[in-house]
Amino acid sequence: MKSNLVGNLGNTGLYILTDLGKMTLFLLKALRGVFRRPFRFRELLRQMHFIGVGSLAVIFFTAASTGMVLGLQGYYSLNKFGADGMLGSAVSLTLIMELGPVLTALMVAGRAGSAMCAELGIMRISEQIDALDCMAVDPFRYLITPKFLATLICVPLLTVMFDVVGIAGGYIAGVSLMDVNPGSYVEGMRTSVTNHDIQLGVIKSFVFALLVVWICTGRGYFVQEIRGAGFGAESVSRVTTQAVVFSSISVLIFDYLLTAVFL
């Protein structure tokens, strides 16, 4: 019984180490694909359209509702201390440093990350990735690298859009609905947001983009090697769920770590 437990723990430890090793090599090969020719520029644009343009609506609505809720909640809290003039500062800092990067990454993981994972998983179980290998076509350069680059380009841009729409939402809720002085909203934002805050938001959005695309494409690519995933279509559905959960949790953990390091 005891040796069984130790054996199982050992097996699980080895599995995790092997998995981490495979995922690390996967990341390096995906990044190496940037330098391999021919570069698939058209595929990069297609992926940017899917990840970036395709996510605009969901990012717009999430940002608008988040900004408006922040505006109302912020007004409710600040008004108690007679500090409702600080609303612009509170909304913009919260969005730029925290909610913008995090919520954008979570939305992209749910919408585009899941699709990338499922696409690669299906390609793997239907031997399409093996077919690329057999034709001596590097599957990383052909399939993975364009997805990496598109995500790394689009997520920071979507984050900027999230911030702008969210701040506008906060303005509408605070100024138009709660009668906060428009000048103090804008001035509060202008004086409190520094370059360092914007840099932190941008760094976070890059790191989160990398985490989302790495985990989602990696899980799909290795769909047949993931313990407990099952086989066939079931394995793709399970691994897709796992990819979204893992990437979302990673985003939240790294959000804390980056905030602790850079703040």
Partner: protein, 260 residues
């Protein structure tokens, strides 16, 4: 003349989930003659597809050596592996066509990725191939819009684009009805006669596939038995071969092949 492919004392084993080791190939040595058709047969889980993956470098041997066209390719990586794979064309069990690409784009893919031909040359070659494989007028269709037999023909057309020296067929008639299977086998025979490649067919479509074979190998329990003709199998005195003949060929083999 060097054999097209040669296995020298190759061993490949897998560790199962319960920790047991399953030896798929146990110190196996055999060769595949150039320009001929070799059929690799055997029951499920006996290592037929593993053998193909070892040849293609998609899996690594535990011990032993694999030679392709006289070159040792065991453990080859990077550019060497790419160069090795350009010698092969592969037709997969499920055709492995790219769902999001049209028939034309699927067949053009190896030319676009592996050659420096311009788009006009690629278009001319692909349309000529599609015509040769009786796929005229289907170039703008997606794989999901094709029948199983047509998908196999597209897969074969794609595999032939770089004029491989060796063609590997992994269960090429799975999912096809008997009439379509025969049609596909005739297509293989015609294509091989025209291009003269070495053909390795992994199949359990027995006995039909044996009519194409110059040599038959049967995988069983990690060992490989090689026969110079399908008829030779029937006269084998090995109990597991007799069992194989009984279970897989049965009456069809007796009536179709022995009477010929």
């Amino acid at each position: 003349m060097n054999p097209a492919i040669e296995f020298k004392n190759v061993t490949k084993a897998f560790v199962k989930k319960d920790g047991d080791v399953q030896t798929i190939l146990d110190n196996v040595s055999f060769s595949i003659p150039a320009g001929k058709t070799t059929v690799i047969a055997g029951g499920s889980g006996q290592g037929k597809s593993v053998t193909l993956k070892l040849i293609l470098g998609l899996m690594r041997v535990d011990s032993g050596r694999i030679m392709v066209q006289g070159n040792d390719v065991t453990g080859v990586r990077g550019k060497g592996l790419e160069s090795l794979r350009t010698q092969f064309g592969v037709l997969f069990q499920g055709s492995a066509l790219f769902d999001s690409l049209t028939v034309f784009e699927n067949v053009a893919l190896p030319l676009r990725e592996r050659t420096k031909k311009n788009e006009a040359e690629i278009r001319a070659q692909v349309l000529s191939s599609l015509s040769q494989f009786e796929l005229d007028g289907h170039e703008e269709k997606y794989p999901a819009q094709l029948s199983g037999g047509m998908q196999k023909r597209v897969g074969l057309a794609r595999a032939m684009q770089l004029k491989p020296a060796i063609m590997l067929f992994d269960e090429p008639t799975t999912g096809l009805d008997p009439v379509m299977s025969l049609e596909i086998y005739h297509l293989f025979a015609r294509t091989q006669a025209e291009f003269g490649f070495t053909s390795v067919i992994v199949s359990h479509d027995i006995p039909k596939i044996f009519n194409l074979a110059d040599r038959v190998t049967i995988l069983n329990g990690g060992k490989m038995d090689v026969f110079s003709s399908p008829e030779e199998i029937q006269w084998s005195e090995e109990p597991h071969i007799q069992e194989f003949v009984k279970t897989t060929m049965g009456d069809i083999y007796q009536s179709d092949l022995v009477e010929k």
